[in-house]
């Protein structure tokens, strides 16, 4: 069975042109980057990751990766150093998402952002009716041990992009293993955006 991670990676993969260069911020164990490298004939693939054990897994996969913080790791890159900068499931975990996104848009020609939707209907139910911090498939953590430090909805992100004059080239909304087209802010667990400035 296809997992939600698979469909996320499938969709991100369709956004990346063959032969492009990719910087993956918060690349984790490098599964997405390794896949892109394999399927998209990436000419330059670079990851940045804070977790030491994840670094070992990336190196096992033959990836180039910097052990470090994505809040500070971008300043040295020149404008448009990469065709794509990816912030998949790491965007809501950085200290200053606003600054990181601005830097990502400077360093990359296009940016791919993927994050869990805080306005998913069960999250609304948890908060509105139970009065509890929401736990959903895409936000599976208890309030006391979550790596997520910013909570945003699909509508928040669209509003933010409009406000900052960021162009949304393409968006995908996902619930479990299928794409959502209607009422995504209510029905999607994850939003994936291809943006540029």
């Amino acid at each position: 069975m296809i997992s939600s991670k698979d469909i996320e990676y499938n969709l991100i993969s369709t956004l990346v042109k063959t032969g492009a260069s990719v910087l993956d911020l918060g690349c984790g164990s490098g599964d997405l980057l390794a896949r892109l490298k394999r399927e998209k004939n990436i000419n330059k693939a670079q990851g940045i990751e804070i977790d030491e054990l994840a670094i070992y897994k990336c190196v096992e996969k033959g990836l180039s990766v910097f052990h470090g913080d994505i809040d500070t790791g971008l300043a040295e890159y020149e404008d448009k150093s990469f065709d794509y900068v990816i912030l998949n499931q790491s965007f809501q975990q950085v200290k200053k998402p606003d600054q990181v996104l601005e830097e990502a848009l400077r360093v990359g020609r296009e940016v791919i952002v993927g994050f869990p939707n805080f306005a998913y209907f069960t999250a609304r139910y948890h908060l509105a009716l139970c009065g509890r911090a929401p736990i959903t498939r895409s936000l599976p953590y208890e309030w006391y041990d979550t790596p997520n430090i910013h909570f945003l909805s699909i509508a928040d992100f669209i509003y933010y992009c409009r406000h900052r004059k960021i162009k949304i080239i393409k968006s995908y909304y996902i619930n479990k293993n299928k794409q959502i087209k209607i009422f995504p802010n209510l029905r999607a667990l994850v939003g994936i955006f291809l943006i540029t400035k």
């Binding site: 070992y56 190196v59 033959g62 180039s64």
Partner: protein
């Protein structure tokens, strides 16, 4: 080497140091400062086999007081070489696949030419007449060695501390001869603090009356001074935490009734280290090599990214969290320069409590990084491995 599964892997076995002598003619070997040495001998060891394409050679470079004996056993020794866990069949530097060379540095005292060698002009040891040498000179001598071994392009150069500086010298000045580089726990140039520690070591040696302006080979060596230099060194190689764990404030059992004996275990340890060191190392070599380290500047005053740009070297940079002698922020400067120069670079800061010594001790983590990195450089493609 004991692996996680507890299976003992056989090491490299018995090895012998070899010697290569060159520049015997009148032209000699010209140093960066214009002075000449003739002839020059380098001690080196090799492990594994050079393939027919000569594409599998790796040069390992040692730290301040290291030698060519990186792995395996010499006939008379019970301890193996200084990075034995890393070099051998199935190890990080896999001798089933790669041809590994380790060369002793110019200026040293373990088989290569240095201040304790005989000066052919006088028939006596050079002493302080030995010319000042640089990290660049060490690497130029290594180039003579790999030429002699018939190697045009090295698969990789790797080393920690001063060995890392030599790696950087290869990267910055001889990138056409290497395909990849692994600098570990090192810096592109010494900070004043690092120079200061070295200077205290040198002053300890020179303050010993037996040093005698470097001419002591026919008399007795400045062992007290050299031992103190080594003690200072050892403090900088460990971390506060590793010292606390190893010694705490425990007192030695054999306390003698005198005010200033080495009462604490840590004092005893430093004395022991100092004493052991003087038996195997030459005080003048210590002076010459630490000077070479202090003067080292990988990019020679230029912007490092400018010097590096255009090279194709794949780079794996490793630092250790508790290393305060070569702190991670200095190592990250190397990473930054590589990044700006557009080099294919991987950086890992390994969590360890061992301080600077970690590069010799945390071999399991290093193995993981180096093994796969070398595989990628050697095969030229991504290893198809899925971890989950």
């Amino acid at each position: 080497m004991k692996t996680k599964t507890g299976i003992e892997k056989a090491g490299i076995g018995r090895v012998e140091t070899q010697y290569y002598t060159f520049a015997s003619g009148s032209r000699g070997f010209t140093l960066e400062n214009g002075e000449k040495l003739s002839p020059v001998t380098l001690a080196y060891e090799t492990y594994g086999k050079l393939n027919t394409e000569k594409s599998n050679a790796i040069l390992i470079l040692h730290a301040l007081t290291g030698d060519a004996h990186v792995a395996g056993f010499h006939d008379e020794d019970k301890d193996p070489g200084w990075w034995d866990d890393m070099v051998g069949p199935g190890r990080a530097f896999d001798t089933d696949k790669y041809f590994v060379v380790c060369s002793n540095v110019l200026g040293g005292c373990t088989g290569s030419i240095g201040p304790s060698s005989i000066n052919p002009a006088t028939g006596r040891p050079y002493g302080a007449d030995f010319p000042m040498i640089s990290i660049g000179d060490m690497v130029n001598a290594q180039i003579q060695l790999i030429d002699h071994l018939g190697i045009n392009s090295l698969l990789s150069v790797a080393g920690g501390s001063m060995g890392g500086m030599q790696v950087l010298e290869w990267m910055f000045s001889h990138s056409d001869r290497i395909r990849s580089a692994i600098p570990v726990s090192t810096t592109m140039r010494h900070s004043p603090q690092q120079i200061a520690f070295n200077e205290v070591g040198r002053q300890a040696i020179m303050a010993d009356p037996k040093w005698n302006e470097g001419n002591y080979y026919e008399k007795s060596a400045p062992s007290r001074g050299l031992a103190v230099a080594r003690m200072i060194g050892h403090i900088t190689y460990m971390s506060d935490k590793s010292m606390t764990e190893k010694f705490g404030r425990r007192l030695k059992d054999d306390k003698k009734p005198f005010k200033f004996t080495a009462d604490f275990e840590v004092e005893g340890y430093l004395h022991y280290r100092g004493k052991r060191f003087v038996g195997r190392f030459d005080a003048n070599s210590y002076l010459y090599i630490t000077k070479a380290i202090d003067y080292f500047d990988a990019s020679k005053g230029k912007k490092p990214q400018q010097v590096l740009s255009g090279s194709n070297t794949k780079v794996l940079v490793i630092a250790f969290k508790s290393d305060w002698l070569y702190p991670a922020y200095q190592t990250q400067e190397i990473v930054r320069a590589c990044k700006l120069a557009g080099l294919d670079t991987t950086y890992c800061e390994i969590a360890s409590d061992y301080g600077h010594d970690a590069f010799l001790l945390e071999t399991e983590e290093e193995t993981h990084l180096i093994k796969y990195f070398l595989e990628r450089v050697y095969n030229g493609k991504v290893t198809e491995k899925h971890s989950d």
